[in-house]
Amino acid sequence: MDPSTIIPNYQPLPLPAPLWLLQTLLVVGFFLHVIPMNMTLGGSILSSLLLIKGGSDKTSYAFRAGKGLASALPICISFAITQGIVPLLFLQLLYGPAYYTSSIVMAVPWISLLGLLLICYYGTYLITYRVLHSNEHAGGSGIKAGAIMLLVALGLGGIGFLFSNNMTLMLTPEKWVELYKSSASGLHLNLGERQLWPRYLHFALSAVAVGGLTLGAFGLYFSKREQEYSTWLIKTGSRIVAGITALQVLVGFAFLFALPSIATKNFLGGEPIGSISLAVSVVLSVVVLIATTIAAITGSNKAFVTGMLSTIVVIFTMIVTRHMLRVYSLHQHFQPDSLPVAVQWDILIAFLVCAAGLIAYLTWLTRTVWGAFNPPEITFQPKAETTV
């Protein structure tokens, strides 16, 4: 049916800042959310596999790496949630009428996501405090922790799946009425959507790749203290990233051709921003593939760092690509550019100042904490030598 009669109106209030700025904040905010979110999802998957592999051998590299990932998870989840606030804010502001409607159509799964999140979150604490750091379970603690972690990973993957459902459902107003008519209580998902599975797979795999990067980053951290462990971490992490990236090329194309044909055309030269961001992503993925393959074979720090930085850039350009997909899909029915703009200069400036302050504060805080965990005696080599 023609959805134009049921497209909800924006509220008759102006936007608080120019559209380009709000859209930039949406994209940048999502980027800042995706990094910890991917570390969480990918980290939980890899951690569970590593812990199970390590089993009861607590000195094995696999166990240590799995434990390291597991201990980082609570903080990652916490940041994934807080960083999620920004894109959620600007998504509601710019595409609220689409987002609210699709959320209502799938209300029950959408709100159950919160319960799932709470359980997974406490699950990670359970693993770090009760299982990994207690001595009673000297035996198969790796297996047990890994098994619980697997459940957590499944839960987190489920949350991602629900997001994929809603983020695709909001793009297709033509489906809303039929779904809503068949249940007004919000008992739906968007399983009939052609792009759903490739899209979800694309995102989930990228999370595993970021998990691999996190492992490699641990390797960098250990490179001065335990050369062998460090190399193992970098090689393992790089192998994961390289393997996933190769797979992503296939999944990515499947995703691209599962899109509505107009969107596919736009990405293949029909529209400049989307085409450029996609092209850059593909080219950089090749760089990632080469760099991480080298790092996987040689264990080279430099190659790994190159791969890591390129991946981060690819994630950003892919997010731009994803944003453009939303723009193409919603363009016909939702025009945030039709809203008047009345810039709230005072609070806009206050926000920018606060944001700058936050960056400064976090830098300072990281330094302080880093200093606390790496007291000068250890990193300050000459002094250590004289005392020996």
Binding site: T5, I6, P8, Y10, Q11, L13, P14, L15, P16, L22, L25, S78, F79, I81, T82, Q83, G84, I85, L88, L89, F90, Q92, L93, G96, P97, Y100, T101, S103, I104, A107, W110, I111, L114, L118, Y121, Y122, Y125, W176, V177, Y180, K181, A184, S185, G186, A342, Q344, I347, L348, A350, F351, C354, A355, G357, L358, Y361, L362, L365, T368, V369, F373
Partner: protein, 459 residues
Amino acid sequence: MNYPIWVVPIFGGGWIIGIIAIVHVFLSHFAVGGGAFLALTEELAYRRKDENLYAYLRQHSRFFMLLTSVAGAVTGVGIWWAISLVNPDGTAVLIQNFTLGWAVEYVFFVAELATVFAYYYTWDKLTKEQHLNLARMYFGFSVMTLVVINGILTFMLTPGHWLESRYWLEGFFNATYWPSLVLRLLIMFALAGMYAMVTSSQIKDQKTREYVVRFCAKWLLPIFFIGPVAGYFYLANVPQAAIETVFNGVHASGVGNFSVLARALYLSLILSGTVIVFAYIGPYLNPRGLTVRISILFLICGLTVTGITEWMRELLRKPYVVYGYMYCNGIRKESVDKLNEGGFLAQSKWSTITALPHGQNDIELGRNIFRYQCMSCHTENGYRGMKKLLGERDRDAIEGFLKTIKSRNKENNPYLGIMPPLVGNDDDLQKLASYLCTINGHSETSPAVSSKTRASSQF
């Protein structure tokens, strides 16, 4: 009308918001008050060089971190989930107005979380001064999140000059901003004291336990002395029409029991008075006697009072979501005239289309009007159910009632303080009546007359 309605059987969508919001209020108030508690207690431990006190803080801080960073953050996001599902239009108003305000809050929230993690993980790793500073900073950031969100929350009840100027700052620093800020801070301190009683009642070393328990009891004092004053200023600035409904109920009608609000107010006053008196003669005068169980009892009382207070605040705002601007069913006050003239159904996006599967008959269309205009507060059979409220009214009585609540004149419509006026033309009213008759079983007495024949018989 603008959005589809999420139909939540029995409870109604309001409760979904309510449950998440109340849990979140407990936890977030604890996050701020608890921050003050950590900072001050650590200051004390530092000055007295009291290792026992440090040991206690270390314990308490894990409990604190787990509760606030996990459940606090998730329920905070949860409120957004809930309000956007239940009241998308109202949410959109807040978002379009205050996105940047929320963005500022987010900055402080990130700083707060980063600090709580840093604080928790650096016990014994930093110097005592550095660690104490982290506690102070945590408190500062968490207060800032309150300073921001308080403006948005109070805006909903007293938007003040924003109604004319549409200038966000006038909505933000509104008439109830300062009293509400003070009240919330006091509640936060009191809750922090009560939470800390639970953890401190388990301290092994008896001397430290007595000392800390007594210290906790003192956290209830500020609200005892300043609370009533702040409360008075708060109520004095709330729209007086809202206050009237609180204390008088709707006398002219059968809903005298709306003064349940007044009763809730008394209950919460009595309960908080009791808590404070008992805190004085219990933990303060006799800290040795405080067991874990008693401390949990205190906490439950405190949470009950907080819950009731929040609930009252929400009721005060009824029937609006933004007072004087948008009703809680998402209809803007200024659009009522237009909807009355042209008809509600005729000008709604979702309400007619969704009636289609059962055929567009009067009852189905009436059901949709009910969903859009009444279901933000009522359900069919469950919470505040229509079946019970309609009672024995027959079709004429129902029509009469609907005409009453359609009026926007206080003299004719005693319900104006609690229900938004019914919006729409006569045709809409007939359809709604047809539907309501099916709920309490009075549809047989007056077979659903097609609205067309009715309308034509009027001309």
